[in-house]
């Protein structure tokens, strides 16, 4: 762990009162999503109230840790636009539509994937990338890989 602390130079998700249930769950290798009690829509990223209808009645739903989805869109960074990513180029950043909750798209990197093979519609599964100090980051990986 100490070694990881020294080598992980990328930004670590900042927990706030509005998002901490999501990141606390990620640290336990689980996905939770915020849901609006009024309009029944899922909200992602989460917030202090529903960004679709404005209702303050929002709650959290556990989705578990077997999460699959398909690539909805992506970009490929060939230059680092933030510090810490210089050794990860080309870097795939993708929006993934969840199989269980298609209205939710989650942005993450697609790891273990040849950047020339990435395409919209490609099936992926969520993996948990451990960061220093017990933190964990949801990431995507091709299902075939």
């Amino acid at each position: 762990m100490k070694e990881t602390t020294m080598t992980y130079l990328k930004p670590i998700p900042v927990k706030t009162p509005d998002n901490s249930p999501y990141w606390d769950a990620a640290d336990r290798h689980e996905l939770v999503l915020q849901k609006c009690e009024s309009c029944k829509e899922y909200l992602h990223p989460p917030g202090p109230s529903c960004a679709k209808c404005g209702s303050p009645a929002v709650s959290w739903e556990e989705i578990g840790n077997d999460i699959q989805g398909t690539i909805y869109s992506y970009v490929i960074s060939h230059r680092p636009f933030l510090p810490g990513f210089q050794d990860d180029l080309p870097l795939i950043i993708a929006q993934v539509e969840l199989d269980k909750v298609p209205e939710v798209k989650i942005m993450a990197n697609v790891l273990d994937c040849d950047y020339e093979k990435i395409q919209i519609g490609m099936p992926v599964k969520m993996i948990w990338q451990d960061l220093p100090e017990g933190r964990s980051l949801p990431q995507w990986k091709p299902i075939d890989a």
Partner: protein
């Protein structure tokens, strides 16, 4: 405020020098631009009683500008804002003039966009970014730190859905670079671009290569808005505001959850309704062009080509002089310079005044033009102007 068509006008435009390293403060550049706009209008600084600007913590204040012009104005306003703020501030100016509070308003944007705070990033505190951007902790840890990636995510999906290709992005770039060759003040004057060169350029952030990105520059721009009645006393040829839609948000606050719609889709019907014209009435355009794709998506939103046909529309040369919609005729932010939207406003005003007549820069006999703003997929602005 009711119908404002043709009752207000832009009567002055001006700019500072454009450079990559001004060696001047934003206040100094703003003063240069303001004096140029006043001179253009034939007004004294003391004729202006309202000053407004937008910034990203990278500029001077309206109060400072007024002070060093020797004016004690009635009203100053500075907003945090990006590329659709010009339209919003013009709406504010019109409303305040309509209410009888003000007579004439000077609106400016000044930035050392290359030598100072760069929009393209660099030097940002990543934890600050996570809290400053709505939902930032869901994108920053993944390296999505700038507009190239945020807008690129929309672009890849849109291209997938509509059949727009890399080459279509290139036609936007080559059209605007062609315009820059007629503009001696453009950064890329003397640097034309062929579609073959564009296609051979490596990606910086797929689907974008460096030509798809706007330039960063040090520059200030200013415009002066007043009533049609007062415009008669100005020495410039007034350009009348037919309609405005100042700003309207994408319905999703967290915009990267829904890549299918952008704020321009909502602004477009409002601006046409407000101006009482249709897309086919528009003869010249300034389309916000922080990235090439942003132009394509707005052409679709503003009805210049149906969804799925925007790529062919640009490939056929319609953005060039002599095309159906000569666009960003000074080179745009992709090849002239970047003042967060305002240099494109200056250009459309000059086109509608027929300021370039007798030269190949002039869009012949243009009477009606559109100017659009894009501050992101969630915020947009637009105005329709006539001579």
């Amino acid at each position: 405020m009711g119908k404002i068509t043709d009752r207000y006008a832009i009567v002055g435009v001006g700019e500072s020098e454009r450079s990559k390293n001004s060696g001047k403060s934003p206040l100094h550049m703003a003063l240069d631009a303001a004096r140029a706009a006043l001179n253009d209008a034939g007004l004294q600084a003391t004729d202006i009683d309202g000053f407004m600007s937008y910034n990203e913590n990278d500029s001077c204040t309206s109060h400072q500008l007024a002070t060093y012009l020797g004016v004690r104005p009635k009203y100053v306003k500075d907003i945090m804002g990006g590329g659709s703020s010009t339209e919003m501030l013009i709406s504010d100016a019109v409303a305040l003039i309509e209410a009888g509070e003000l007579n004439s308003v000077l609106i400016f944007r000044s930035m050392n966009g290359r030598s100072g705070v760069r929009m393209g990033g660099g030097g940002w505190d990543v934890n600050m970014l996570q809290t400053a951007i709505d939902g930032g902790s869901f994108i920053i840890p993944y390296g999505a730190g700038g507009p190239a990636q945020w807008f690129g995510m929309f672009a890849t999906r849109h291209m997938h859905e509509t059949g727009i290709t890399q080459e279509h992005l290139g036609h936007v770039c080559t059209s605007f670079y062609e315009h820059a060759q007629r503009n001696p003040k453009a950064f890329f004057h003397g640097k034309p671009l062929t579609i073959e060169e564009y296609k051979a350029t490596p990606y910086l952030s797929y689907p974008f290569n460096k030509h798809d990105f706007c330039l960063e520059s040090d520059e200030a721009n200013a415009i002066i808005v007043t009533s049609a009645e007062r415009a008669k006393d100005c020495k410039s040829r007034p350009v009348y505001i037919m309609g405005l839609s100042s700003r309207q948000c994408h319905p999703h606050t967290h915009y990267w959850s829904d890549l299918s719609q952008v704020a321009s889709d909502y602004v477009a019907p409002e601006v046409y309704k407000s101006a009482g014209v249709k897309p086919e009435d528009i003869q010249v355009a300034s389309i916000y062009d922080c990235y090439s794709w942003v132009v394509l998506r707005q052409l679709e939103a503003f009805g210049f080509a149906p969804r799925g046909e925007v790529g062919n529309f640009v490939a056929e040369g319609n953005l060039r002089m002599g095309g159906k919609l000569p666009t960003n005729t000074a080179g745009g932010m992709l090849s002239e310079g970047y003042t967060h939207g305002m240099n494109n406003v200056l250009e459309i005003v000059r086109q509608l005044r027929h300021e370039y007549r007798e030269s190949d820069r002039q869009v012949k006999d243009c009477e009606v033009g559109i100017c659009t703003g894009w501050a992101g997929p969630d915020i947009a602005g637009a105005m329709i102007l006539r001579n």
